[in-house]
């Protein structure tokens, strides 16, 4: 439905001269929700704005629904108002001088296909009904709460039945509780209408919750893409692993590999991991372990445990996070059922679960690992202790 090839966008006057969007290819299949995920400044919003036509690219091609809308090389540029899109902005962008329904009617009354007032009102009411705001139709926009304004904005984007829905951080201005409700609303409406959607966010939980496919971006490039579960369970890139909050990383070397697993030699012992990329015997890797896949116990019947001592624990309500020192490394383990009641200084065995650790080749590109470190300082510090 959306096809992007070799997209490049430069911004002038930046202190560091690099491309905000640096050669991006992406496809959004019909009816799917694809998320652009990454830290601020990674170019995700710019990519969305380029698809919308709110920015002009320096190179590349964009087509929507099989129609070429933008190709600077060929002199093609279809204006924003001629593209079959609906956009929801981070700041809602609900027009303050109009009522809720006037906002939603605007695309039908001022857009390319103009409907008679009564018809426009009927369609707008349907859209408002869809987001559960039909009874607030005649409220002036500034009298609505943030969550209501964002749903008005969604209704407005949908009311003219666009081929493509573009959502630019639609949840990040909302309070935590509201955020989940509006998120559910967005995913619900998107699946009901089967509308092709691009969703931009910097929040990995949000991305996992709503996406059919997640595209992880960094520094204007695509780092990795895949189904939400894949990206979560088996990230192939160090950047993704760190960005997805896999906070334990241990350096090691490859001992051997077969089709599905790879044996890694760690300071703590041998560990069988999920492989990524080209791993040959003897190459250096970082092994990433989720806190959930490190199990603590006072005894070590299997003999696979790493001996350590408890540094401190953090209580989250539904779980405990234990920080355990194993040798020079501080590991974080998350326990959902607290049985053992550990305190500072207690000796404990850390047992990694089978087939959950991910071995990723050590990134030799110094820049990228620097960015990773800034994302999760704790991890970087932990890794630094070892090195």
């Amino acid at each position: 439905m959306i096809e992007v090839r070799g997209l490049v966008k430069r911004f002038e006057g930046r202190a560091v001269s690099r491309n905000a969007v640096d050669g991006i290819d992406l496809d959004v299949p019909e009816g799917k929700l694809v998320t652009l995920l990454g830290p601020s400044g990674c170019g995700k919003t710019t990519t969305l704005r380029l698809i919308a036509g709110l920015e002009r690219p320096d190179a590349g091609r964009i087509s929507i629904g099989g129609k070429l809308v933008c190709a600077p090389g060929e002199g093609v540029y279809v204006g924003v108002h001629h593209r079959p899109i609906g956009v929801v902005f981070q700041s809602y962008a609900v027009w303050p001088h109009m009522t809720a329904i006037e906002n939603v009617m605007f695309p039908l009354r001022s857009g390319q296909k103009r409907l008679p007032r009564a018809e426009a009102r009927r369609r707008a009411m349907e859209a408002l009904d869809m987001v559960g705001l039909a009874d607030l139709a005649d409220r002036p926009a500034p009298a609505l709460s943030g969550g209501q304004q964002q749903r008005i904005s969604l209704a407005r984007a949908l009311t003219r039945e666009p081929e493509v829905l573009l959502l630019d951080e639609p949840l990040s201005n909302l309070d935590a509780g509201l955020r989940d409700r509006v998120r559910d609303e967005i995913r619900g409406v998107q699946q009901r209408l089967g509308i092709t959607t691009v969703f931009v966010t910097h929040d990995q939980d949000e991305a996992l919750a709503v996406s059919d496919e997640v595209i992880v971006m960094d520094r204007g490039r695509i780092v990795e893409r895949g189904a939400a579960q894949e990206i979560y369970a088996w990230p192939r890139e160090e950047f993704t692993a760190r960005f997805m909050g896999i906070s334990n990383s241990l350096p090691g070397t490859v001992l051997s590999r077969d089709a599905n697993t790879v044996e890694i030699d760690l300071v703590q012992g041998r560990l069988s991991c999920l492989p990524t990329g080209k791993l040959s015997e003897g190459s250096s890797v970082n092994v990433f372990l989720r806190p959930e896949s490190l199990v603590l116990s006072r005894k070590d019947p299997s003999g696979r445990g790493w001996k350590g001592t408890v540094e401190f624990s953090i209580y989250h309500g539904d779980c405990w996070d234990y920080h355990v020192r194993v040798g020079d490394t501080l590991l974080r383990s998350r326990m959902y059922r607290e049985k053992i009641g550990l305190a500072h200084g207690d000796p404990v065995y850390v047992v990694p679960e089978e087939a959950t650790a991910i071995a990723i080749p050590v990134n030799t590109d110094g820049d990228a690992s620097g960015a990773g470190a800034s994302l999760s300082g704790a991890t970087a510090k932990g890794a630094g202790d070892i090195g």
């Binding site: 919308a52 036509g53 709110l54 002009r56 204006g79 924003v80 108002h81 001629h82 593209r83 899109i85 609906g86 956009v87 902005f89 981070q90 700041s91 809602y92 962008a93 609900v94 027009w95 303050p96 001088h97 605007f106 695309p107 001022s110 857009g111 390319q112 296909k113 926009a141 500034p142 943030g146 304004q149 904005s153 407005r156 984007a157 003219r160 573009l166 951080e169 201005n173």
Partner: protein
């Protein structure tokens, strides 16, 4: 100060039983004054109230007295009102004044907002021209702008009229209502431009993007969204320009009077020059302008307030969308250049040119042979000119110091304490904004001629300082309140918690953080006071002449070259101060005009 900032407000006194009310109340009042914060508040409030209320109140009293400033018995009367408001002459005056102010307001708002749109929202090149021109009204005082335009369009010899003549076009008669509108617009358009820039940049451009992505064509987006959202700001700016235009002295006096077009200000000046002076009529006219200005300012505030309230919260860090206007941008560039030429280049060049000639003549090759620096030497050789410059410097610096101290105190009370009545104090301190400078001048004059105070104030520099302080106070606050607000209580508390004494906290935390805004407030007040003429013209005497008044007088005497030379010197001086203020502003993020 330590006590004031540190202690929390005292708990409210327990409600006393009803019967011995009086004694309890006295005690409560006494207790209220035991708190040093309250004494500070009381003193500052008294000073501010005195400054804000006295001129307008005196004016009102004068308009209601049967005879004012006379030895004879005076009684209360509405006679002046019925007589003045009943005369056809007065309503001609109202018609002239409103036509002049309204035409100026419309013209400069249209140009100013148009330029602001081009600068903030389009890809017109060389925005530099418009941005530099926007600083000019600070650097060229109104009186010099007026003088320069009068020279440019002098009936037979003005440079531009000579140019029109060679093109076989009819000469422009500047001594007319349209001439007044032209000159005043050149002076205030940059202010409208700055207001427009602020309005356009504070508008979340995703509001327009949302309309575009709804399928609306750009022209329709401009009409239904951009224009509608900016409308309150436009109205607010136009009203402000109206108020400013109706209350200043130089253009009506220098341009209007020679063409026999009288407006409020020039009529008041004329009435005060004739003997016997009809103080009552002056009072009525003054009160009339005051009322117009107050209503205008109130409406302006309301509009800009509601505009701000109507704005939905904006996303962090958006960039204003720049529209590609294609080939039209070259037209935009032409507009920038034209604006720059009219607002900056022409008046400045005219002043420089005239300052280098022994007597005025239009620019020509033959005139080049007469160029001389004699006028500048003459300034230095004329004691009266030197003393008026000294008077201006002394009064401006004194006013700057007093305004800085006073507005720091007001800002401290309103921002850092929770004393009851602090809102009223801030309100009072901004009252002078609504009092036209002319009313300020005449009101202060009346008050110090009649006030029962033991020492003579009229004819001293003090009376000028009082006027400048009153006029400068709202501007001082505008710099210091945000500066004070940025020093969060936690910063002071953190220093205290680190073991610093209050004095050390003050020195290491408050002073470094506040100094830039204090300096900016000081320098801005100096600029305002140095340029001021509309109030000073009523307050000066032979010994206390300030430089703006001197320019007016020399102009009236026909010494154009001296006026021009003095003008160039003033422009250079003010440009230096403005550069300093901008530098401070860019360093501290206080870039609000």
């Amino acid at each position: 100060m330590s006590l004031i900032s540190r202690s929390r407000p005292a708990p409210p006194p327990a409600r006393a039983p009803l019967s011995p009310a009086r004694s309890t109340r006295t005690r409560t009042v006494l207790e209220w004054f035991r708190d040093p914060r309250h004494i500070l508040l009381a003193v500052v409030a008294l000073v501010v109230t005195y400054l804000a209320v006295v001129p307008a109140a005196t004016m009102a009293v004068a308009s209601l007295q049967s005879s004012f400033l006379n030895t004879g018995p005076a009684e209360w009367t509405l006679r002046h009102y019925t007589e003045t408001l009943g005369s056809a002459d007065f309503w001609t005056l109202v018609g002239n004044s409103f036509a002049y102010a309204a035409a100026t307001a419309v013209l400069c708002t249209v140009i100013g907002f148009g330029l602001a749109y081009l600068v903030t929202r389009t890809n017109t090149p060389a925005k530099f021209f418009a941005q530099v021109a926007a600083l000019i009204p600070l650097i060229i005082p109104g009186i010099l702008n007026t003088v320069a335009w009068a020279l440019l369009f002098a009936p037979h010899t003005g440079a531009l009229n000579v140019l029109l003549g060679t093109l076989h076009l009819p000469a422009f008669n500047i001594y007319s209502l349209s001439g007044m509108v032209l000159v005043q617009s050149m002076h205030v358009t940059p202010v409208a431009f700055l207001m427009g820039t602020a309005a356009f940049t504070s508008m979340d451009s995703s509001l327009e993007e949302a309309a575009l992505s709804s399928g609306a064509p750009p022209r329709r987006v401009f009409r239904t969204i951009t224009a509608r959202l900016i409308r309150p700001a436009i109205m607010s700016a136009a009203l402000l320009m109206f108020v400013q235009t109706i209350s200043t002295f130089e253009v009506p006096q220098l341009i209007g009077v020679p063409g026999h077009t009288f407006v409020f200000v020039s009529r008041i000046y004329k009435a005060l020059q004739t003997f016997p002076t009809d103080y009552g009529t002056v009072g009525v006219t003054g009160i009339f302008i005051l009322a117009v200005a107050t209503v205008g300012l109130w409406l302006s505030r309301r509009l800009s307030g509601s505009g701000a309230a109507a704005q939905t919260i904006t996303g962090k860090g958006y960039r204003p969308t720049v529209t590609d206007i294609g080939r039209w941008r070259w037209l935009g560039l032409a507009v920038f250049v034209l604006f720059f030429v009219c607002a900056v280049a022409l008046p400045l060049l005219m002043l420089v040119w005239s300052s280098l000639l022994p007597g005025y003549e239009p620019p020509s090759l033959s005139a080049l042979h007469h160029l001389t620096l004699a006028n500048y030497r003459d300034i230095l050789a004329t004691p009266a000119l030197i003393s008026s410059v000294r008077n201006s410097l002394v009064t401006a610096v004194l006013a700057g110091v007093i305004v800085t101290v006073l507005s720091s105190l007001v800002a401290y009370i309103t921002v850092k304490t929770k004393v009851r009545g602090r809102g009223v104090l801030e309100g009072l301190a901004t009252v002078p904004l609504a009092v036209p400078s002319v009313v300020m001048g005449v009101g202060i004059l009346y008050w110090y001629l009649t006030a029962p105070i033991p020492f003579q104030m009229y004819g001293t520099l003090t009376i000028l300082v009082i006027a400048f302080v009153t006029i400068g106070l709202p501007y001082g606050l505008r710099y210091i309140v945000p500066g004070m607000a940025q020093i969060k209580d936690e910063l002071e508390e953190a220093a205290a918690a680190s073991g610093a004494t209050w004095l050390r906290t003050f020195r290491r935390i408050y002073v470094p953080l506040l100094v830039p805004s204090l300096l900016a407030a000081f320098l801005y007040t100096v600029i305002v006071a140095f340029r001021e003429i509309s109030a000073a013209i009523f307050l000066y005497t032979q010994d206390t002449q300030v430089v703006s008044v001197t320019i007016y007088q020399e102009w009236s005497n026909g010494s154009y070259p001296i006026v021009a030379a003095l003008g160039v010197a003033i422009v250079v001086f003010l440009a230096l101060i403005v550069a300093l203020v901008r530098l401070l502003g860019s360093k501290t993020g206080l870039n609000r005009q």
